[in-house]
Amino acid sequence: MKTVLAETAAFGLTRHFFREFFYLRFLTDTGAESVRRTVIGVVSGLFALSILFPQFVVGRYAKMRTVADYRQAFLSDQLFTICVAMFVVGLIAALVCQSLFPDETDYRVLMALPVTQRLVFGTKMLALALFASIFVLSTTVIFGLAFSAAAGGRWAEQGILRRMLAHGSAVCLASIFAGASVMSVQGLIAVLLPRSWLRSVSVVTQTATICVLFLSLPAIAHPAGYAALLQTRATLSLAVPPVWFLGLEQVTLGHRDAFVIRLASVALLGLAGSIVAIAGCYLTIYRRFDQLVLRSSHVPWRGRLRPGWLRLASVEQRPARGAIARFTSATLRRSGLHQVVFCSLSAIGAAVSINSLIGFEAGPGPRGQAAMAWRFVEAVLEMPLVFFFFGVAAVRNALLLPLDVRANWVFRLTEDPAAKPDQLAAIERSLIRLGVAPYLLVSLVIQAAVLGAANALLAAIPTTLLGLVLVEWVLRHWHRIPFTCTYIPGKRQLVHSLLITFAAFVVFVNLGGGLVHFSLTRPRGFVTVCAVLLAALIAMRRSRLASSARVPLEFEDSLPDDVTVIPL
């Protein structure tokens, strides 16, 4: 049976399209293997979460003292799980959104073979459905079924099966809606936009979708606030899609309130609308494949590209530095992949920053108020450091990703140890310009509003030094021209990497925030902190420049040595 199936064109095409979703063209085989390991790690982590999350929920509900507390907590948790499921599926759809419809390669390669257009579109849709079902089912099992099975307790109003059915279907439909919405937007772009706009609009939409998703994380982390939207029957609920599906769940559980029914209707209409939009786009592309799809992927820039950076050449005294700076700038402006990575990580930074500024709850009495004010000031002082951490990481990761690796011969051919410090200076400048300076300005404005202009300006000095120290730390082993070296992601185990990143974040933000706060409270402290940071910055910079002269440029990423030699 398996052999017979494997021999059919439909099976072969479906398998081909399904594998395409996991294929990252910019990685080498080793890099792709590493990504596979990372994906397995993430999926394992999610399943581990499906075991831990219900245990957490059971413990939490056991402590509830009144039915009102339970209801409020249950509603918040239901909304939280719906939001997380929508976030996961929406993010995956946004990441692969360039491959959701048959494209130019499919047209050129497959239409020349004796397969029908119907088969190509049918198998592409089937592969897409299989791919989407992995994530929809995973989120439904983890956040729908596992949660509702555990969310019982003495106050539970419905039986376990009914709860599982209601919440499982709400989570499942919500995640389908999230994925379908992203897909329908990309489909409409492919069908409606003129050729010259297609690529740039598609990339901008993709980046914007990912940014919006990450920026919604603070809201996801505080579901109680907008679960209240449902309880108070606020009209604003109609603008929050996760609340629609919460309404749908309430209807499934037997509530017949007019407002809840209205929410459920909106949920079903939204879901149907996005599915109809996708079907319409598929149908339009199917009918006008040759006209539409030929322009829908890898469309080259045919218009005049702004030669703005050429004018910058007139002020650039060092050719090597100018060359790398302009190459970096042009690539970040024109490469969709690099924009997505840069903007996504920056958006995570913004989300974490916003999250740290909201959700303060005052304790009882004046001491509680004072403690809250104190924590808020701390959060405002730490905010630029959070921005720096993610901003610098965003630039670093964008610069790490290769672009047309085989074209790097031009850098290898012109490699000159004497020019390397200038080339690395250009990278340092990119990190400061994109990962530190804009966030410093934004934070300065916010800090001036909260702490006063004088305090904000004073805080800006140690904060800037901390940003520069972070840049030096990131560059300490950097020996690459941006985008020219092969890349192997996930060289360490995922858990190991996450722990290191988390520890670095905690140390940098808390220690840095503490230093800034200390420098503001005592005049001597200010001088001491600035002197120590400046000394550290100079020492790190000297050490980096000394090592950069010794080590040649890297064009091949490599895994750490498999065998550790113990010098016995």
Binding site: H298, P300, W301, R302, G303, R304, L305, P307, W309, L310, A313, S314, E316, P319, A320, G322, A323, R326, F327, A330, T331, R334, S335, L403, D404, R406, A407, W409, V410, F411, R412, L413, T414, E415, D416, P417, A418, A419
Partner: protein, 255 residues
């Protein structure tokens, strides 16, 4: 003078190039021939400094590439076999990048780029990204990049690939004039007719070893010597392909 001295390259036990030696005198165009997998590209990568030889050396006017790689690379212009370019850049941006990496002065670089773009008929497309260029246009950008810094040695790997007839004629004439100025050219190609017209001498490589070397004047005089194609077929032990072609037809008819 350029010298390749006993160049050898091993890849995990596999000998890709085995003690290959040749010279190019000033004013010479050396044709570098060989079937696929014979080690041509490996040799060229060693000549331009992209690959380090396992043994042997590359010497340009008495200076070894291993002793002064930067100095040697500054004097070499290179056109790779495949037009690998940063296609998100425009032609002007790409040439400026190459010029800056080669440390050329800004004022001279800008005027030189503008003139080269005009002469290579790329000026009108100078603000379009290279991704919008045809294969021939990209090849012309690579040629312009290779000539930008006025090199002493030009290393060309299939340089006529994708060029139209007029661009091919222009480029052939350019190579002759370039060599006549006392510069050197290493010209690798599968196109025997082009090699016969462009080069002053040829070296034929097979299984990583040089199996023949001759002046092209010899082979041009077909009355007394075998043609370059015959020489190539003989040196690289090319078999009679008639029976292979028949076998292919047989396989097709089996289906």
């Amino acid at each position: 003078m350029f010298e390749a001295r006993a160049l050898t390259r091993r890849y995990r036990g596999f000998l890709a190039v085995d003690k290959v030696s040749f010279e190019i005198q000033r004013g010479d165009i050396l044709g570098y021939l060989g079937p696929n997998g014979s080690g041509k590209s490996t040799t060229i990568n060693m000549v331009v400094g992209l690959l380090e030889p396992s043994a042997g050396s590359v010497v340009l006017d008495g200076v070894s590439m291993s002793e002064d790689p930067v100095g040697c690379k500054r004097r070499i212009g290179y056109v790779p076999e495949e037009p690998y370019l940063y296609t998100h850049l425009t032609a002007t941006e790409y040439l400026t990048l190459v010029g800056n990496l080669r440390g050329l002065e800004r004022a001279r670089l800008e005027s030189r780029i503008a003139r080269l773009l005009q002469l290579f008929a790329l000026f009108e497309s100078r603000y379009s990204a290279l991704s919008a260029y045809s294969k021939g246009m990209r090849q012309r950008v690579l040629l312009a990049a290779a000539l930008l810094h006025n090199p002493d040695l030009l290393v060309l790997d299939e340089p006529f690939s994708g060029l139209d007839v007029s661009a091919g004629l222009l480029f052939r004439t350019l190579l002759h004039l370039f060599a006549r100025e006392g510069r050197m050219i290493l010209f690798s190609s599968h196109r025997l007719d082009v090699v016969e017209r462009v080069c002053s001498s040829v070296v034929i490589l097979h299984h990583g070893r040089i199996v023949a070397r001759t002046g092209v004047d010899h082979v041009r005089d077909g009355q007394r010597s075998p043609s370059l194609e015959d020489l190539f077929a003989h040196a690289t032990q090319q078999e009679d392909y008639t029976h292979v072609a028949r076998d292919i037809l047989g396989v097709m008819q089996d289906v």
